[in-house]
């Protein structure tokens, strides 16, 4: 086992080694990396400790309507007199966990299907690949829109829609990685000492694709945030009155003289997504994984 590229008993050993050897932490010490870490840390803290930070109840309509930003309401108030700052903070509690959930589940499901397709080959592979082809024929926003509209608007259905839309690309990526690994000596050796398909996938293949999958997970988190807020903006995601960045921007759309209603939630999305992307770029650079995404 020790001769294998990465030991199956310590699935994260390879990742740790590569992070150390490539100076990942050092690579984050660029200006962009630092900005990314600061903002991501900020939003994670807001998602966890939000209720302690929010000055007011995000649902309470307790102020004058459409107040410009001032000392009491830092980001102003909206059409029904809710504090925009409190609502922006409160949205993080919904958006961040849900986006993490979407990315993690679709990476797991997609990788599993893709790995099986690559490993088993033949008919199963053919069926899965044609299915992903068909899914790719729809732009993801249109497909997600159709699914969540037919299921009925709401957060649960939006999540289902985004899961359905996002697994195929992971299946494709993992499949192509498995295809190259399948014929490598240590996998064949594993099969020869009697490993079945599943155990071979888990013990021999998984540790070697794990690093790339984790990077993907990270870089695609931003995409999940954007898609979720797109659906919410279209009225198919988080439903009012619950605070959500997408619905808040939608709220501000009709009323341009009150620019603060739409500006701040949009800035929240931008800062979160771009800092995740800054870190993702640093990760890719340090691990030299630029080609991960081009497998798709």
């Amino acid at each position: 086992m020790s001769e294998q590229p990465v030991s199956g008993l310590m699935p994260f050993a390879g990742l740790r080694r590569r992070l150390r050897d490539n100076g990942f932490l050092k690579s984050l010490r660029t200006p962009l990396g630092i900005i990314g870490v600061i903002f991501v840390a900020f939003w994670i803290l807001m998602a966890i400790f939000g209720p302690l930070v929010e000055p007011y109840d995000p649902l309470a309509q307790e102020f004058d309507r459409l107040q410009a930003p001032n000392a009491t309401n830092w980001f102003g108030t909206d059409q029904v007199g809710r504090d925009v700052f409190s609502r922006v903070i409160a949205s993080a509690r919904v958006t961040i966990p849900i986006s993490v959930f979407i990315v993690v589940v679709s990476v797991c499901v997609g990788s599993f299907i893709g790995a099986l397709a690559g490993y088993l080959g033949k008919v199963f592979d053919e069926i899965i690949m044609r299915l992903t082809d068909i899914m790719f024929a729809f732009p993801s926003i249109i497909l997600a829109m159709i699914i969540s509209a037919t299921l009925g608007p709401g957060l649960k259905n939006a999540v289902i829609a985004l899961l359905v839309v996002s697994w195929p690309s992971y299946a494709r990526i993992v499949r192509s990685m498995v295809l190259t690994l399948k014929s490598s000596e240590f996998v064949i050796a594993g099969r020869l000492i009697g490993r079945g398909v599943l155990s071979s996938l888990i013990v021999d293949v998984l540790p070697n694709v794990l690093t790339s999958m984790l990077v993907l997970l990270f870089t695609d988190f931003g995409g999940a945030v954007l898609m979720l807020s797109n659906l919410s903006f279209l009225g198919l995601g988080v439903l009012p009155p619950d605070p959500d960045w997408g619905t808040m921007v939608q709220n501000g759309m009709g009323n341009f003289s009150a620019w603060w209603v739409a500006l701040f939630p949009g800035l929240a999305i931008l800062t979160l997504v771009i800092s995740v992307n800054f870190i993702g770029d640093a990760l890719q650079d340090s691990l030299d994984l630029q080609n991960v995404t081009s497998h798709a």
Binding site: A137, F138, I146, L226, N230, L234, V249, A262, F278, A296
Partner: protein, 374 residues
């Protein structure tokens, strides 16, 4: 991107297939082999037809199997509960009382006749609605496509040549901004700044409401107003299209810039570039004839996908600018539960994408012999 990996597969099968044809032909007369390019095109076409069938099946599944009761969605809950006979009548009229496989069959028969059903939102045939919406999207897509491809190729290749310099970093950050901004928000910002504050361009819609749209020839206002010799309508249409076009261009730039940069860097690191340098060719020649040329194929592939995605209508941008194209139609259909409308727009979008892909594949096959023969 999906295509580079994918296009290799059919090509990989071609030797056996060629052998099979040769064997079969050899049985009666001299072996007759089709030109590899022709064989490649035919193969891609069959894949295309298969995909169109798949897209049709998925839209059927989504709109007929997934919703609990499409008939009940048409009328309010209260009416549905108190008058089950109304629901039954609607179900009968929509053909929903038929078994699923009969509906599937009828659905495909209608599709082949170009019948996408009637929209419950506009009460028009969906196919006519889509035919009216398509030119608006096409007009926008063409402008955005040209702008995006030119700018992103320029910036992407520039970044690749000056890799790891300040210029590269600036371009990278710019493209990250383009990727990380929510589309609806950028559209609103553009609307607020350039229309509401600065009054540089016109706001929503395709034309001022005081103007009469030019007589329909192509359905694209810019072209029609020119054909009709109507400079007022032309400048007005131009001023209306600017904001959605610039917004969409900005939103699409990021990923394409990154892709161009990546492709050029990969070509730069390839053996043939190394060979050209070793041969002593001047740096400029290597860059233009080897690096750019090597990068051109993946870039062509990617721009094809971009055009396909644009043609399917930018839902968010079109909605914000009330641009009456495919995207806005799909949005209206989806939010008012107009199942035929959703199904029709989904289908159209999927089919457009598949055929654009088909043409890009053929272009790649013509440009690069490796794609068509293994």
């Amino acid at each position: 991107m999906t295509n580079t990996a994918e296009s290799a597969e059919p090509a990989a099968q071609s030797p056996e297939d060629g052998a099979a044809t040769a064997r079969k032909a050899g049985a009666d007369t001299a072996p007759k082999r089709r030109h590899p390019l022709a064989r490649y095109i035919i193969r891609r076409f069959f894949v295309c037809v298969l995909l169109v069938w798949g897209v049709g099946t998925i839209t059927f599944f989504l709109t007929n199997v997934v919703p609990a009761d499409p008939a009940a969605a048409l009328i309010s809950d209260k009416v549905a509960k108190s008058n089950p006979e109304i629901v039954a009548a609607i179900r009968h009229r929509m053909g929903l009382d038929q078994p699923l496989r009969v509906r599937y069959f009828i659905y495909f028969r209608n599709l082949l006749h170009g019948d996408l059903g009637t929209s419950s939102l506009t009460t028009n045939p969906v196919s006519r609605d889509l035919a009216r919406a398509f030119p608006a999207t096409l007009e926008l897509s063409i402008i955005v496509f040209v702008l995006t491809v030119l700018i992103s190729m320029f910036l992407g290749l520039l970044a690749a040549i000056h890799k790891k310099t300040l210029l590269d970093k600036i371009i990278q950050v710019f493209s990250l901004f383009s990727i990380s901004m929510p589309g609806f928000w950028v559209a609103m910002l553009a609307f607020y700044i350039f229309f509401f504050r600065l009054h540089w361009f016109s706001g929503g819609g395709r034309l001022d409401s005081s103007l009469v749209p030019p007589p329909t020839v192509t359905g694209m206002y810019l072209v029609d107003s020119l054909l009709n010799d109507d400079p007022v309508a032309f400048t007005n249409a131009l001023s209306h299209i600017m904001l959605p076009a610039l917004t969409l261009t900005f939103l699409n730039l990021g990923s394409l810039i990154r892709f161009c940069r990546q492709s050029a860097i990969e070509a730069e690191q390839s053996d043939y570039t190394l060979g050209a340098r070793a041969k002593g060719l001047p740096s400029r020649t290597v860059t233009i004839r080897y690096v750019f040329r090597g990068a051109s194929l993946p870039i062509l592939n990617m721009t094809g996908l971009t055009f396909g995605a644009l043609l399917s209508g930018a839902v968010l941008t079109e909605t914000v600018f009330s641009w009456h194209g495919i995207g806005e139609y799909a949005y209206n259909a989806a939010t008012s539960l107009d199942l035929n409308g959703i199904m029709g727009s989904g289908l159209l979008v999927g089919v457009i994408y598949i055929f654009i892909n088909f043409f890009v594949d053929i272009l790649c096959g013509i440009l690069d012999p490796r794609v068509r023969v293994q």
